[in-house]
Symmetry: C2
Subunit: 332 residues, 2 copies
């Protein structure tokens, strides 16, 4: 900037004002302004965001923390969020925690170190110390995917209950009466909501179902839990999984037990992860628009950054039943 100022024959403060469009205030001659812009362009000058941030406190950086960047479901969310942030000139810092609170702690610390203006937090647990720390420091944060016991924090969540209801009703309409549930991790809000909605929906129909929790949302766990459930309730004809990856594991387990999907056992997933229509069998699932979820979270975060006193708000993303090949009428 000094170079630009010298070249244009003005003071750096003048350059600063011009480049910040404060020329409007009638403080600077049109001539001067034009000259400065000219020189800046010619010299290929680019403002040092770091220095500017130091002075203004605005870094135009936001952080996003997810269990695993490589997870397809998260990837769609990242995309939606990225587009929104990009449009507002923000840069996105990304971190994977492997669903490990220690990782989360240090990743978040690094983000706050670079003075991220706000955080999208996608790894919330029911009682989340890391999250509590963020809130304590007064950093704007919006949860997504998972809620937490933290009042005053905005969140964008899938409508777990409605989605689960859609799934159960679909299975019931196919004549299934022996339905089990493969739940997600026990201390994740979605897992709890989905289980509750599962039992409730069955109850309405006068049925009861078994369930087990998976420790992580991965195929192996879906396999393990489903194997257990099938052994425990051999008459099972349908599996509702809390998540598509668990559903894939469930299908594997069903096959490993000598049954076939969907002829013997139907499977419903949750999320509609990319390419689930190409799986074998194509996965019947509850679609949550990942792009929309990411974009809405990002918008909410930007609003919270702009107005920290903004009242917290929880938005639900509407689910949609997508019927494909992994569900069939109950065998007679």
């Amino acid at each position: 900037m000094r170079d630009v100022a010298k070249e244009a024959g003005v003071h750096v403060s003048t350059v600063s004002r011009v480049l910040n469009n404060q020329a409007a205030a009638g403080r600077i001659t049109h001539d001067t302004e034009e000259r400065i812009r000219d020189v800046a362009l010619r010299l290929g000058y680019r403002r040092n965001t770091i220095a500017r941030a130091l002075r203004t406190g605005r870094t135009l950086v936001v952080g996003m923390v997810v269990p695993d960047v490589a997870n397809l479901y998260q990837a769609g969310i990242t995309r939606g969020a990225g587009d929104v942030f990009y449009a507002d000139g923000y840069s996105l810092i990304l971190a994977s925690t492997d669903d490990d609170p220690d990782h989360a702690e240090s990743q978040v610390s690094a983000m706050l170190g670079v003075q991220a203006e706000g955080l999208m937090y996608g790894v919330a647990r029911e009682d989340d110390a890391v999250l509590a720390g963020i809130i304590d420091e007064g950093i704007p944060v919006v949860l997504f995917n998972r809620a937490a016991n933290s009042p005053g924090v905005s969140a964008v969540l899938p409508d777990d209950r409605k989605g689960t209801r859609l799934a159960v009703e679909h299975l019931l309409s196919l004549g299934h009466t022996n339905i089990v549930h493969v739940g997600g991790p026990e201390d994740v809000s979605s897992s709890v909501n989905r289980l509750e909605a599962f039992e409730e929906a069955l109850g309405v129909a006068g049925l009861t179902g078994s369930h087990h929790f998976a420790h992580r949302q991965i195929e192996d766990e879906g396999y393990r839990v489903t194997s257990d459930l099938l052994e425990q309730r051999p008459d099972t004809t349908a599996v509702l999984a809390a998540n598509d990856r668990l559903a894939l594991g469930a299908i594997d387990a069903i096959r490993a037990s000598g049954r076939s999907c969907p002829q013997d056992v139907s499977v419903v997933g949750f999320n509609d992860m990319p390419y689930s229509e190409r799986f074998s069998p194509p996965l019947t699932t509850i679609r949550i628009s990942q792009y929309e979820l990411g974009a809405r979270t990002a918008r909410l975060l930007l609003e919270t950054i702009a107005d920290p006193l903004r009242p917290a708000e929880t938005q639900l993303v509407a689910p949609e039943l997508v019927v494909r090949g992994s569900t069939a009428p109950a065998p007679i």
Copy 2:
């Protein structure tokens, strides 16, 4: 830091030295050091990376630019890179360009604005103006996935030629003689390499093959190109796609033409994207370890940042043939 200094009864410079582990130089009493660390911990002090960066020029931030974050193949790379950067205390800024140079331009500009110390550049074109700009400014950059006409720049690339040879040999061993190639975008290095290797490998066997280029690496384009090729060469029994997504489109096109895969036409992809073993049919493809590619790129970038004069280097990631259900012996 001022607070910490005051609380510990020392000057801020002393605090700074302690926190930077310069105490080793025998400049500070063990007593003082301990006291300062204590206070810092108690006050929950965290260094302001921004201010530090302003002074030292080291932001501990690197940028990564990819065509699409939501792309599964990229996601694995991101993961590998993220792990390496994380271990070294770096934060990762991510940007999607949609494979659009204008987007790339502004995204890169934003990254340089926050003084990213280096860039992982995954959207290189044969003649890439944006890339040239980066190099001009002397910013350390390492290409991945795609090479460019830019001497002096390190890159980590899939071994396109070897991978393609593996794929062609596989098809030849199955008795295929009418093989077509669905190429990627024409000005992307991998597309060119794969096409050349394709023709060469066929030539060795005394065959020739047709090909067309896709404009983008997406299913729709694979569909379009394959449809054209099938019409042009109805006797085709095998399709080699430059990429898994193109391969998926190819399978769609084969089915749409009334043929079946792999009975009538075999398909080989490239990359081994996540879940390709679960597709219908499971995809025969050339595996490139995405995690390794990302991790190696990241390491190379860190080395280049540490020593900008480091001679450029191109690393190839070894490919591996993964035979699954989308290839079968040539029909008689």
